[in-house]
Amino acid sequence: MNSKKIKISIHNLNIWYQDMQVIKNVNLDVEKNKVTAIIGPSGCGKSTLIKSINRMLDIIPEAKVKGAILLDGQNIYDIDETFLRKRIGMVFQMPNPFPKSIFENIAYGLKLHRMFKNKEELYFKVEKALKQAALWNEVKDKLDKFALDLSGGQQQRLCIARCIALEPEVVLFDEPCSALDPVATAKIEELIEDLKKNYTIVIVTHNMQQAARISDYTAFLYLGNLVEFGPTQKIFTTPQNKMTEHYLTGKFG
């Protein structure tokens, strides 16, 4: 990997919940404008790892983080967390739109960061985000409707739109499809493929096929250890580690 293209660099990362160590000395480089998938069995620390990248672990008082995570070479703990989270967006496992209108859901982050000068610009940015999230055609006539009345898949795309409305550099997906049906999942996957032109993407998934379909790089995490990391093609065809092979062939997990 060319060092110029590295967006996020994780060095010797260790994370504890009270006395239990959940991430053990992980080193990982995330390349710019690529999709990096983190796979592994339940409880292996995938979600913890991805939540450390935008400092969402800060809100869990028991979590203790050691090691360094660099965004464009800058330690994320040197960046104000509100600004960091604007640059690194996140989409959660369960769709979690605000109980507001569709429009207000997208406008929320734009208002927080005062990212518009007038109403026209706000409307334009909301429209742009919804278009990028492939939701515009379905909701353009009902922007003032209640967001929770949308279907699960639409809600998740709304959350993606809400996130990319802030024009982040990185988007973190924490098992974004685990609550969705196959059709909605296919739409989200298509969308992620599309988004990597503009964003660097990290996705946690327990669905190996999904990782194989959409990611450029795959990291296999097991019991807090990064067992293997490399180009997805290579991980899935010629895994170096026996454990990776066993997991991928369904011998455990």
């Binding site: 969402m56 369960m94 605000f98 982050g109 927080l112």
Partner: protein, 282 residues
């Protein structure tokens, strides 16, 4: 019928009887108050002052006084209680200190209301020099309902799903923005419902206002928050104990009781309406 079925039958019968007894107690109270009170209630009773040494006329000053006292209690206790609840749920580190604070608040709810009355007399009336006034009585009532408001607000805030807080924080909101823009708007129906029930209780209390706000009879209506007032619950008490013409005053007391009862029921009804409307929106 086998023995197990007999036990079940007897068990259910006892439960049914208990429910029936409670309901009938409620209806008996309502029946007697309505039967005795309805005779004196008319438009004049609701809109005029008492006259001829409380033996005729209306109870308008008492209605107004209870309204002012309750309003003052809300204005004091609602912002304070909600603020405390936000702090306890969202900011305070959940440890021993917060546990002690919670126990303290719960104990506050168990303090007899006459003790609040004495406290109000010592602190608001005497120490702060507010005198016997709407302000002193309202503050005393406010303290009385604080635990109710805090607990209702805490529950309403806790009921806001954590996923919404996460969503807001992940978009780069500060904790305060998250509370102000996401948590509070979603908690307000619950806060209001719980608080209104507390307010209903405040409206009916006698002991806390006994030494702090009320007067037996006042020739003029209150002009400021430093005026003493008449209030419905105390009016009943005064009519029943200090009257010289019980034959005319007792019916007035029942009429007053009926007005108070409907006032409190009306307040509770308001709480139900707010809760229903909030549910519908979800």
């Amino acid at each position: 019928m086998n023995f197990r079925k007999v036990k079940e039958f007897v068990g259910f019968a006892i439960l049914r009887l208990a429910t029936f007894l409670i309901l009938s107690a409620l209806f008996i109270i309502l029946y007697f108050i309505i039967i005795r009170g309805i005779k004196v209630i008319n438009w004049q009773f609701l809109t005029h002052k008492p006259c001829e040494g409380m033996t005729s006329g209306g109870i308008f000053p008492a209605i107004l006084g209870t309204f002012y006292l309750t309003l003052c209690a809300i204005c004091f206790a609602l912002p304070l209680g909600v603020a405390a609840a936000i702090y306890l749920v969202e900011y305070a580190r959940q440890g021993r200190l917060v546990r002690i604070v919670r126990i303290g608040i719960n104990n506050l709810a168990g303090v007899p209301s006459i003790v609040f009355g004495l406290f109000g007399l010592a602190v608001f009336v005497k120490y702060f020099g507010f005198g016997v006034s709407i302000l002193s009585g309202g503050l005393t009532l406010g303290i009385l309902i604080l635990p109710v408001i805090i607990r209702a607000s805490e529950e309403a805030i806790l009921a806001v799903p954590n996923s919404l807080r996460e969503a807001s924080l992940a978009l780069g909101a500060t904790k305060w923005q998250t509370i102000y823009r996401i948590v509070l708007p979603n908690a307000i129906p619950g806060i209001l419902t719980g608080s209104i029930l507390g307010i209903g209780r405040a409206a009916g209390e006698t002991a806390p206002i006994l030494f702090t706000a009320v007067t037996f009879y006042s020739a003029k209506l209150p002009t400021s928050i430093f005026s003493e007032v008449q209030a419905l619950p105390y009016h009943i008490y005064a009519l029943m104990t200090e009257g010289t013409h019980p034959e005319t005053q007792v019916p007035i007391a029942y009429g007053t009781a009926l007005v108070l009862l409907f006032l409190v029921l009306g307040i509770d009804l308001l709480a139900i309406v707010i809760r229903k409307r909030a549910r519908k929106r979800k």
